[in-house]
Amino acid sequence: MIWLLIASLTGFVILGLLWPLAQTVDDSRSVDDGDFYRGQLQEIERDQARGLLDAQSAEDAKTEAARRLLAAAKISEAQADRASMALRRKIASLVALIGVPVLALSLYAKLGSPTMPDQPFAQRVVPADENADLTIMVAKVEARLSEHPDDGLGWGTIAPVYLSLGRYDDAIKAFGNALHLIGETADLRSGLGEAKMAAADGVVTADALSDFEKAYANDPKNERAQYYRAMAAEQDGDKAKALTLYRALLETLPPDSEPGQLVATRIAALSGEQAKPVFDPNAGQSAMIRQMVERLDARLSTDGSDLEGWLKLMRAYQVLGDGPKASDVFSRAKLAKANDSDALAKLSAAAKELGIAN
């Protein structure tokens, strides 16, 4: 369907471009400058008749116009000969007939996403998409909150939703409002910390950590607070403390639950790394970055739909100085996005920019 539209548009365009060439040129049609000056003469006479010009200036004006009319007549333009005209016309038609569609289609093949349908808001597929309910809910709660900004429960409800939607700044605000209105709870406090951490691209900042500490003080059983305190230690490079904290948390979690496994993998990763004999002088920082990168890598291996993730990962490896890994990611990403030309273009552009050979 889209190709049909594109084809017919191309057809109309070529028709429009070639239309004048199909017409026989009427040479007499072109207006010469003489008309202009003859018009001037008439105008002067009209003005004189209406009394806007006195005889003297009218006479002067006429002389001048007549002089210019003569000058214009002298520059009559020579016409080109017929034979070369026909040749040129053929070339021009060919360029329009072939050049335009070829240029347009090849550029469109690079830039366009012909397979992507329109997705206006009203027609978005609602039932299959669990997020759709979320949108409606968010909109409802937002509407309510703009009328009742002192509804602490509302803020508390919407805050984790913002967090999961990636609206971190809104989440921070909402958690903050909820804490202010409802009062201190470990869940809200650790949520606030998590939002701050997410806003800082996954780094447990001092600010976020103080929230987790508060939540932990309030309720030592709060799993999120425990987990992020451990992660903070891990990011600070304090592996021993991180391990202790993770292990303590693991004991309270059922081993086959999702959080349990998450914590177990962290412990495994940390113990593995600890076995390494030497540390980089600035290990704290780069180890932290490494971990974040590896987490992202692991996520993308299971779910390759996140284009931004791929781009980030590619960039990260390149920045870490791991060229082969980066070009490996590039090929994996291309595979994962094989049927999305738009994404492929972006990936190649990014790879080029990063100087990844492939």
């Binding site: 806003a199 691209d201 931004e308 980030k312």
Partner: protein, 149 residues
């Protein structure tokens, strides 16, 4: 008043020259006298800026430094994380003026790390910081550019 061709040309050229000369003079004078240099707080102390000179300073509003009084006088400190200056200002602060955020103030340096400002500009939208400030802070390695999208 019949003029020869040459005279006409001369008059035209002379008047054009006069206007251009006046304009050039104005521009040069204004450029030497009416421009204001931009400094960070450390520049001010390092370069020994003379008291009484007109300056434009940029940096971050130091946390907890904003003091307002009843007659709309405001005092705050502007820092580039190294040195800070005290800015005195009377009037309304821009909507986006906030502690910890970028700010540019223009006024007269009083010596002794004091500036009496007549203009205070804050960053104008969420993703925008006065370029002067961003550049100066970037040099110091503080500001990390925008968030990755």
């Amino acid at each position: 008043m019949a003029m020869t061709r040459k005279q006409k040309r001369l008059v035209l050229i002379a008047s054009a020259g006069a206007v251009l000369a006046i304009a050039a003079g104005l521009i040069l004078f204004a450029l030497s006298d009416k421009i204001v240099f931009f400094y960070t707080p450390s520049d001010i102390t390092k370069q020994n800026i003379a008291a009484g000179s007109r300056v434009r300073i940029g940096g971050l509003v130091e946390n907890g430094s904003v003091v307002r009084d009843a007659s709309m006088n405001v005092t705050f400190r502007v820092t580039d994380t190294e040195t800070s200056l005290t800015v005195h200002y009377k009037g309304l602060l821009p909507d986006l003026f906030r502690e910890g955020q970028g700010v540019v103030a223009e006024g007269v340096y009083q010596g002794n790390s004091d500036v009496v400002a007549d203009t205070v500009l804050a960053k104008h939208d969420e993703n925008y910081m006065p370029k002067d400030v961003a550049d100066a802070l970037k040099k110091k390695g503080v500001w990390q550019g925008g968030k990755t999208q």
